[in-house]
Symmetry: C2
């Protein structure tokens, strides 16, 4: 078998770009830009919990990086670098080659440099740590929303959850509809350009990984506000609109894994938001609610409250099972 060091060299070592020192020493070295804070986040994907055994390694390489970059997007950070800690049961070169293809295709698209990592033997999982920069004091946290701010979301919600529901055989989808939603499950797109564009505009932001209600709930808690969502405004893919209302509610309100952004913007900036929206072209931006005094998340449909029995995805709940791929 290839020793650990040769493995790293073979699949993951690329020439250093902006990093002072990349893969191959005890640490990587990175110069953080003057006037910038470092933004850093780490996320793990585990076989059997976050993806099915036998998942396509190319998609997995993409998704593992995408969900981490989504955390940078949610701070309005510019991505810089990533570290990859990969645990796998045996040295499978075909798997590694395909995984690294998916990983680097996304990394290169956003100029994210792989600067370090670790490979170990054990049950398949991967922990990525992403590093980005935000101008000092201008990161968009979860806690800055003000009463009366509009609540916006990017893209459409519920596609990933619908694809997953189909794969688990609970929900019937024709091939065309499945194709339309599965990309969101397998190859989510981190909204990095949008995150940066919202600096100085959004007062609070989060990425939707656990479901809209759960995640805007975090915005509300941190900002010490309640959140009202207008169900009629929640953007959904057409494949989901064909489903029974209970499936729509489940997928669009409680379905995780879309990795869209939810963010708060003062109502006085709706013209500015129109400009941002036209700049984003492929990514629709939709006003879905408002931050209000109080606490908790309420969803109304034509003015009447919708009963919510839907929590986010809890990684330790007894019922949790593979959420994606």
């Amino acid at each position: 078998m290839t020793p650990e060091f040769a493995l790293i060299e073979k699949f993951f070592k690329r020439p250093s770009q902006r990093a002072t020192l990349g893969v191959g020493d005890d640490c990587a070295l990175l110069a953080v830009g003057a006037g910038c804070d470092l933004a850093v986040s780490t996320d793990t994907l585990v076989e059997g919990t976050h993806f099915f055994p036998g998942a396509n390694p190319k998609w997995l390489g993409h998704k593992a990086l995408a969900v981490n970059l989504s955390d940078l997007a949610a701070m309005g950070a510019t991505p810089r670098a990533v570290l990859l800690a990969l645990t796998m049961p045996r040295n499978d070169e075909d798997w590694l080659a395909t995984f690294s293809q998916g990983f680097f295709a996304l990394a290169e698209r956003f100029s994210v440099e792989l600067i370090g990592g670790d490979t170990t033997r054990g049950p398949l999982s991967m922990t990525l740590t992403v590093l980005g920069e935000t101008p000092t004091g201008r990161a968009i946290t979860r806690g800055g929303a003000k009463e009366g701010d509009d609540l916006w979301v990017s893209g459409e919600l519920g596609a990933a959850a619908l694809a997953l529901a189909h794969l688990r055989s609970g929900v019937d989808l024709d091939a065309e509809d499945f194709n339309a939603v599965e990309a969101r499950l397998h190859r989510p797109e981190p909204r990095l350009d949008l995150g940066v564009a919202l600096r100085g505009i959004a007062t609070a932001m989060i990425d939707i990984s656990d479901g809209l209600v759960a995640d805007v709930g975090h915005l509300g808690e941190r900002s010490q506000l309640g959140v009202s969502i207008d169900w009629d405004q929640v953007p959904m893919p057409s494949a989901l609109r064909k489903q029974p209302l209970s499936t729509q509610h489940h997928c669009a309100l409680a379905g995780g894994d879309d990795y869209e952004l939810a963010f708060c913007v003062p109502a006085s900036l709706r013209d500015t938001m129109a400009s941002v929206a036209s700049m984003m072209r492929d990514v629709p931006l939709t006003r879905v609610g408002v931050m209000r005094a109080g606490h908790g998340v309420e969803v109304t449909c034509s003015g009447a409250p919708l009963p919510l029995a839907t929590g986010g995805f809890d990684h330790f709940s007894a019922t949790s099972s593979p959420s994606s791929l």
Copy 2:
């Protein structure tokens, strides 16, 4: 069960110290000091590969952090912060409470702040990412050694490997001797103060995690030099000196997990090294060899070459098994 978020709050959230933003948002934010590079490293410990099932969680909390901090020590970096991605099969609060005790006891001793992380469900493993600072251009890499530089090591070598050999029942040790060596296996000490003290003195440095021969081999490769080690100078614990020579060779030359530092210093700085050594008091510093033209590592005993059949610990080798705890 406690939801993921409550879990993090309960065991791992502490008030932010120097971090701009700690646990609880999409990213943590950190201001890197002016005139400093960020040094960053990630390492995974997997149950069954790096520690035995049922390992003491307090020691594990210490060790997971210690082996990561050791990478910062090996760059001469000052530690700042850490992210902890913890994967566990179920929400075991007793385990978490004990793990976090070991983790924070070490973190607080070196003023390392936990600024982020992730908890997921799956086979027990943990990936830590440590962040530190080095004055720009003064990090001590593996590649700076010059021909004729002395090779030094900190502490004693082979203790962790001897303790492990005893636990696997291959090697007989009385209780007193086992006590003397097991601390190095279970609670290694990152040589952070020494790393910083060697800035401007050491030309190259690495921490000994895979064994002396394998790791100084990396120093040699990166510096494009060969390495000569004088076996008679290799510092060993007295418990190891009582063992047969083959055990001594195996433990002190190929045994990993001591997390001592190996470093190169120009011979002209031996007086300076005497000062550093007196400053370090509890950590003996020993000159064990020399960097020479050529390549490869040779160990001599009273001038005659020692045959080396000992590689480092390879995480994908067919024979590898739990290396510690």
